[in-house]
């Protein structure tokens, strides 16, 4: 960018305060103002140049802002949302918030015991005087839980949390609500009738057992990706002795309520049939039979209006449909169908089967938007106990697998040993649910390699499993950067360096933003004794993420292996505000100090790392202590590592490092040989600390064994 000599910091702050006073002034007054403040020269030029861009600049940014995606202005974090996500309720871990209803909030959650996704409804806490109502509600919810019908959302569990709020765990299905479906306009008649039939069947099954839904409305009806209707919230949507004012009924809910319901008269199953009538009317006509701008108008309409005949609304309908709707919407319950069974006779006049909805029709209507959906993940269990439930579909499985994989990747973020194990579990579940979902396998491979890093015990087997998973992932989808990166990482950890490089390059070709790949490449090139390429990759990574502590540390590492210790330390200086320092930054800094024989500084860097994680910090701490002549403590470190190794924790490599510190190269090479076998030998064998060791003729043998 070519530009005039820039202003001094002093001029810049003058410019800022002038900007404040001049910006709002008309041009002629500006000149007076500037003259009176004796503003001239470069400062005045700059100010005038900027003033010339003031309004264009604002307009430009307004337009540019549209490029930044954003769903709401300003504070996008809703204060009431962060209360529960990530936390657990009983044995359910809250994952996301799905919505809110009259009685509480619905979350997507993972059942930690059965490892399946559920929809978890948390009911609002009740005042003590409502305890009886709450008891009734619970009783009814438990009864609803016993309902077992293809068109009713499964209730897994009704329970209470420690603080006496009630939760209900329900099935989580892939699909849309009928409300979402109808937003695209009225439905083709066969589809409307098909859905109404399924709703009626679900209602019928519940009514037979004395359970009334009380809140049949499009938002409570899910259409799964396969066109199956699932009625939600049976018996729990509304308090049995529902007091409307208390529950804060919205017009959207009110519009589906029966006359007896809105006037708080006794209700029976026929109230649900009314609501179904409203839904059927709306599916056919595209508008609600009883509308209005406010609750009062809707209420009046429900009690007094006879809705317009659907055939007068632009489309022709067979007469029997009109009369069916008319009968469902009779103000007097006695004039409605007595039960769902009788309704079904009219809905399905000629045969038992509902008018089939063709695939093409459904494709037009069913957008593939996973909503409340997802399917029970513990498929085995589900099928075992509920043999009559139709098995989950391919797309249900895929959504579930995606969900689990995302969960697993989230746990990576904390990179704790526990987090990694949990991630592994998630990925394995995802594969169990959908064996053809490649990203789950790629992530499993990646995580297996990562997990082995500080616990080198069954490393070999772990790498074999990782390699298998990565190759399977590529077999399923060869365009997945993730999969190639994982395979590369597996190969790197297995010392198949040339093949690893090939995979990393492919990963970068496929997605230059694939995380970790350049980091791995830095390690690979260090291992291959190609320090300049290591630095190039580290710099590229830092360019992409200039503020990432990991990227900064890797640049330092690459500088270190290029013998540029001063610059490396300078880079690491940008991370000193991180307390405690990241382990990798400390290890790199320690080597820089070691180059200058500043042993104590090196030891000081490593001690906090070793305290937090001996497997990570001890080897280098031992090395530095030995070099510093603090033999006694160095021996203690060595013994500690030996102990760990005997117990199967930590690899042989750590001991090789300590023995190299002692300059006991016989022992060092002995352990290095072991470390190749247990796959704990690391790329930093090529780092400066091992310079002396690398001059030993035995190192050439090691090199050729590793194929470097």
């Amino acid at each position: 960018m070519t530009r005039e000599p820039s202003l001094s910091p002093k001029d810049w702050s003058r410019l800022e305060s002038l900007w404040e006073s001049v910006r709002g002034l008309p041009p002629d007054q500006r000149d007076d103002m500037l003259a009176s403040h004796a503003v001239d020269g470069a400062l005045r030029d700059e100010l005038e140049s900027l003033l010339g861009h003031a309004s264009d600049g604002e307009a430009f940014f307004d337009r540019l802002l549209t490029v930044v995606p954003r769903t709401g202005p300003g504070s996008s974090v809703r204060p009431d949302v962060d209360l529960r996500l990530g936390s657990t309720v009983a044995h359910y871990q809250i994952v996301a918030r799905l919505g809110e209803g009259g009685m509480g909030v619905v979350y997507r959650a993972i059942d930690l015991r059965l490892r399946r996704t559920v929809a978890l409804k948390l009911l609002r806490a009740h005042a003590p005087q409502n305890l009886r109502a709450k008891e009734r509600l619970l009783a009814e919810a438990r009864a609803a839980a016993a309902l077992d019908h293809a068109n009713i959302c499964t209730i897994y569990e009704v329970g209470e949390t420690g603080d006496h709020s009630t939760f209900i765990a329900m099935g989580f299905y892939a699909g849309e609500t009928l409300e979402q479906v109808m937003q695209r306009g009225p439905l083709p008649l066969p589809m409307a009738l098909g859905y109404a039939t399924q709703i009626a069947r679900g209602l019928g099954a519940a009514h037979e057992r004395g359970i009334i839904h009380r809140d049949v409305k499009p938002a409570n009806i899910i259409i799964t990706a396969d066109g199956v209707v699932k009625l939600l919230d049976f018996g729990i949507a509304r308090m049995p002795d529902g007091d409307l004012s208390r529950e804060g009924v919205t017009p959207g809910t009110l519009a589906y309520m029966s006359p007896e319901q809105v006037t708080s008269r006794p209700i029976d199953q026929r109230t649900d049939l009314w609501s179904l009538g409203v839904v059927l009317y709306e599916m056919c006509a595209g508008v609600r039979p009883f509308g209005g701008d406010n609750a009062g108008a809707i209420l009046y309409s429900i009690l007094h209006d006879s809705p317009a005949c659907i055939s007068t609304l632009g489309r022709e309908f067979p007469g029997h449909i009109e009369s069916t709707i008319e009968r469902l919407l009779a103000k007097d319950p006695a004039k409605r169908y007595r039960d769902a069974e009788r309704l079904l006779v009219d809905l399905v006049p000629t045969s038992d089967a509902p008018a089939p909805v063709t695939k093409r029709q459904r494709r037009r209507w069913a957008r593939r938007a996973p909503w409340y959906g997802g399917v029970a993940l513990a498929l085995g269990t589900l099928i075992l106990f509920r043999p009559e439930v139709s098995p989950p579909t391919v797309s249900d499985r895929r959504i579930a697998a995606e969900d689990l994989t995302t969960q697993g990747k989230r746990d990576v973020l904390f990179r704790s040993e526990d987090g990694r194990r949990q991630s592994l579990e998630f990925f394995r579940q995802a594969i169990a649910v959908d064996s053809t979902y490649a990203p789950a396998r790629a992530s499993l491979a990646h995580m297996l390699v990562m997990t082995g890093e500080d616990a080198g015990t069954s490393r070999r087997e772990q790498l074999m499993e990782a390699g298998k998973a990565a190759r399977a992932a590529i077999g399923l989808d060869s365009s997945l950067a993730d999969a190639h990166a994982s395979l590369g990482h597996v190969l790197l950890a297995d010392y198949q360096l040339a093949q690893a490089e090939e995979q990393f390059k492919r990963a970068i070709d496929l997605d230059p933003n694939e995380p970790y790949v350049r980091e791995f490449l830095v390690w690979l090139y260090i291992f291959m004794d190609r320090p300049r390429e290591a630095l190039e990759q580290a710099k590229r990574a830092a360019e992409d993420n200039p503020q990432s502590p990991t990227a900064i540390a890797e640049v330092a590492r690459a500088l270190l292996v290029n013998g540029r210790c001063d610059e490396a330390l300078e880079h690491l200086g940008r991370l000193t505000y991180l307390q405690p320092p990241p382990a990798r930054a400390a290890a790199i800094a320690a080597q820089c100090y070691a180059r200058r024989q500043r042993w104590q500084s090196a030891i000081d860097e490593l001690r906090p790392v070793a305290e937090r994680n001996p497997l990570q910090g001890d080897p280098w701490l031992g090395f530095m202590l030995a070099r510093a002549g603090q033999t006694e403590e160095a021996r203690q470190v060595r013994d500690r590592l030996l102990d760990l190794w005997r117990r199967g924790d930590g690899g042989a490599y750590g001991l090789a490092v300590v023995y190299a510190g002692f300059r006991d190269y016989d022992k060092a090479f002995e352990w290095l040989d072991k470390s190749i076998d247990d796959r704990s030998l690391r790329y930093n064998i090529m780092e400066p600390a091992f310079e002396e060791l690398r001059r030993d003729p035995r190192f050439d043998r090691l090199r050729s064994k590793l194929g470097i």
Binding site: R23, H53, F60, R63, P69, T71, V77, N513, Q547, Y577
Partner: protein, 198 residues
């Protein structure tokens, strides 16, 4: 990142509240990688969409870091400032990818006029818009050399979608300063972007 990151974040936020000037940047370094990763996961979950959902990004990271603790507005503002910087990186990375894919065919970078035209059209995230973002990113670096504060304010306002008040709280300056800096920065950046793209 270390396992106890959550507690560290909490204590850093306490430091920020106590007025420790360096705490925000330490907080930033601590959660930055996480935010980026979250954004990447977001993007990968919907590979076909061309945009990212800031709300979701901030949300997830916020929740992950703070767990179930209920937090005040000040914390949110601080956190959003951090998220804004991550958002900048994600968007710029996205823009880079976009242009790299197109420039394979030897296409010239967009001129300022092209950019203006693209910004007024309704079309999606086209290369010209990506070019505009990249030019903004370059100019913003120049601006930060002159005023770190103005640079941060642009990040909060533009990339973080934060209000004047939120920005003021997060950066511990007065709302008036945010207002003034934001308007001056827009003029300055507009000029530099125009020069840069030609």
């Amino acid at each position: 990142m270390e396992p106890n990151v959550s507690t560290t974040v909490t204590s850093l936020l306490d430091d920020v509240r106590r007025g420790d000037q360096t705490a925000l940047s330490r907080l930033f370094a601590l959660v930055y990688d996480k935010l980026l990763e979250t954004a990447r996961i977001q993007r990968r979950r919907q590979p076909s969409t061309e945009t990212l959902n800031t709300t979701a990004l901030v949300h997830e990271a916020f929740i992950k870091l703070f767990g179930s603790e209920s937090r005040g507005f000040n914390d949110r503002a601080h956190f959003m400032a951090v998220a804004a910087i991550a958002m900048r990186q994600v968007l710029i990375g996205h823009a880079r990818q976009k242009t790299a894919a197109k420039r394979g065919g030897g296409q010239e970078p967009a001129s300022f006029e092209d950019v203006e035209r693209a910004l007024t059209s309704e079309a999606g995230f086209v290369t010209q818009k990506a070019d505009a973002l990249l030019a903004l990113d370059r100019a913003l670096e120049q601006l930060r050399q002159r005023s770190e504060r103005q640079g941060r304010i642009v990040e909060c306002r533009f990339f973080g979608g934060m209000s004047i008040e939120e920005t003021a709280i997060a950066l511990e300056v007065s709302p008036a300063t945010v207002k003034r800096d934001w308007s001056m920065a827009q003029a300055w950046l507009h000029r530099e972007i125009q020069r840069d793209l030609g």
